[in-house]
């Protein structure tokens, strides 16, 4: 028997259909059609595709917030059945609890996991430090900028020490500068914590900069899986953008994303 490796993720033949009411008629909408992919331990994989392609649905199924209509999802060798502490989710708009301070927001997940007392505080502070927010621990969300909120969101998800970090377009609502610095920080954090990261985005540059592999999705299917040949650690992301290797990878993903339009010409 093969020992399951922590941080390994696999989706096997996963389908998902929703029942929606369209024009007064109930209709089945197929959000995912037989998705297959594996993610290795400590790998960063980005899911990219146009809106409605099913990338967020795939992530929500991985998290356990939705259940697959068919197929098998495993994390660290265990079948996913609802949410669990082996996975941490970073939300699109951070979704901090507005009545709690930054530190208390990080503690929230830990408390749910059963941690109490001094250990609880120390752990929360350690993760706030990891995202560079130790000085903002007592601020409430309305006193934090968009980028800081998302840092707290990352700290909250990481604090429970999950095997896999799932991120749903976490930098999509941030301004360009903040997004770039957070991308760099995320890579540093990943280098230190060695977490497996599955990252949903619709930003081509972001997908290439962060990922070891990019899963291009279209209309509920995996269209192509593209290896990113950029070295790790990535170093200065600004400089990386200027390299031929980046441009080439970016073009390959761009082509994959526009493949349907090439077909549509016929």
């Amino acid at each position: 028997m093969i020992e399951p490796i922590s941080g390994q993720v696999s989706m096997t033949d996963v389908s998902k259909s929703f029942t929606l009411k369209i024009d007064g008629k109930l209709q089945n909408v197929q959000a995912l059609k037989s998705i297959n992919f594996d993610v290795k331990q400590s790998e960063i994989v980005t899911l990219i595709g146009p809106s409605g392609c099913g990338k967020t649905t795939a992530l929500r199924i991985l998290m356990g917030l939705e259940t697959a209509t068919r197929g098998l999802v495993t994390v660290g060798g265990k079948v996913v059945n609802g949410c669990g502490y082996d996975r941490g989710l970073v939300f699109q708009h951070a979704e901090l609890l507005p009545w709690l301070t930054a530190a208390q927001n990080v503690m929230f997940g830990l408390e749910m996991k059963g941690m109490r007392g001094a250990e609880l505080k120390d752990t929360a502070m350690r993760y706030l430090e990891l995202v560079g927010l130790q000085d903002a621990a007592n601020r409430r969300p309305y006193q934090l900028s968009g980028g800081m909120k998302q840092r707290v969101g990352i700290a909250r998800a990481l604090a429970i020490d999950p095997q896999v970090l799932l991120m749903d377009e976490p930098f999509g609502a941030l301004d360009a500068q903040t997004r770039e610095s957070l991308q760099g920080e995320l890579l540093e954090i990943q280098a230190r914590t060695k977490k497996t990261i599955i990252f949903v985005t619709h930003d081509l540059d972001e997908a290439v900069l962060l990922a070891d592999r990019i899963i291009v999705m279209r209309a509920g299917s995996v269209q192509e899986i593209i290896e990113v040949p950029l070295p790790r650690p990535r170093g200065d992301l600004g400089a990386l953008r200027g390299t031929a290797l980046f441009a080439e990878s970016r073009y390959r993903v761009w082509k994959a994303l526009h493949a349907d339009q090439a077909e549509a010409v016929h």
Binding site: F91, H93, W99, Y142
Partner: protein, 280 residues
């Protein structure tokens, strides 16, 4: 992105030259506006009230005299104590029952469908019509009064809480779910704090309804408390005296309302920050 472009984004850090001295923006505080408004109304009432036959109307100075007499005789305070006991018990029960009930109805699809319709209906129930029935069940004493207050006050609290729960963003619930929180924990740690502004609005609405219910109860059951003073004064055409409990109740309800607002700012200090309103 080129370096030159990045350079232009660095904020200018030149020292301000000849900046005008900081002027504090002075706005008239809200309480001052309220005091002026109340003062104006009392003054106008005093000026024009004198022209009205004292049976048909009264004016502030006459009411003040009647207030002093009622206070001196001890009647006002004992009546107030009698009324407030029934009011506070009914009102406290309404909060204790209404908030959890609203939370549960808002969270459960089945309970919402099964019980929601009764709550909405009961909110519009003409309670006065049912008072004789309540008297048959509970007699004329203290219990029936507290019960009438409870029945009038509980429904706005339930309905507001329920609406508040439905307005909680789904993603906040998912934060709880993503950390494997139980339904009860999600209710207590996420839904309840997120619903506080709605709950407080319901509790404030219930003050007014509770006060009305209390007077109705004192009219239609054993005549007692402030309601008794109103009825007795009205029956002897002593209009100034009749106005005393009416105004005392209005002042009391207003005070209770601002007390609830004070409690809200204590338990939910983030709320006024979120909405950006100063509640001075």
């Amino acid at each position: 992105m080129s370096k030159a472009q990045a350079m232009t984004h660095t904020p200018a850090s030149s020292a301000p030259i000849d900046e005008p001295p900081l002027r504090l923006k002075r706005e008239m505080p809200k309480w001052a506006i309220t005091c002026m408004s109340v003062g104006f109304v009392i003054l106008a009432w005093e000026v024009f009230g004198h022209d009205i036959n004292p049976v048909f109307g009264s004016y502030p100075s006459a009411i003040a005299v009647a207030f002093w007499e009622l206070l001196k005789s001890g009647l006002l305070l004992s009546a107030l104590a009698q009324s407030m006991k029934a009011f506070l018990l009914g009102y406290a029960l309404a909060v204790l029952v209404g908030v959890p009930l609203g939370l549960v109805i808002g969270r459960s699809r089945v309970l919402e469908a099964a019980i929601g319709i009764f709550i909405t209906g009961a909110y519009a129930m003409p309670l006065v019509a049912l008072v004789p029935l309540l008297v048959l069940w509970m007699g004329l004493g203290f219990a029936v009064k507290a019960c009438i207050v409870f029945l009038m006050a509980v429904f706005p609290i339930v309905i507001n809480t329920w609406l508040g729960v439905r307005a909680v963003p789904k993603t906040l619930i998912e934060v709880g779910k993503s950390f494997v929180a139980s339904d009860f924990t999600i209710l207590r740690r996420i839904v309840l704090p997120a619903t506080i502004p709605y709950i407080m609005a319901g509790i404030k609405l219930a003050v007014g309804r509770g006060v009305v219910a209390m007077v109705i109860a004192e009219f239609f059951t054993a005549i007692s408390g402030l309601g008794a003073i109103i009825i007795n004064a009205a029956n002897s055409f002593d209009t100034a005296r009749m106005f005393v409990p009416v105004i005392v109740l209005m002042v009391l309800a207003t005070g209770l309302n601002s007390f609830v607002g004070f409690v809200e700012r204590k338990v939910a200090p983030w709320q006024s920050e979120l909405s950006g309103r100063d509640e001075g």
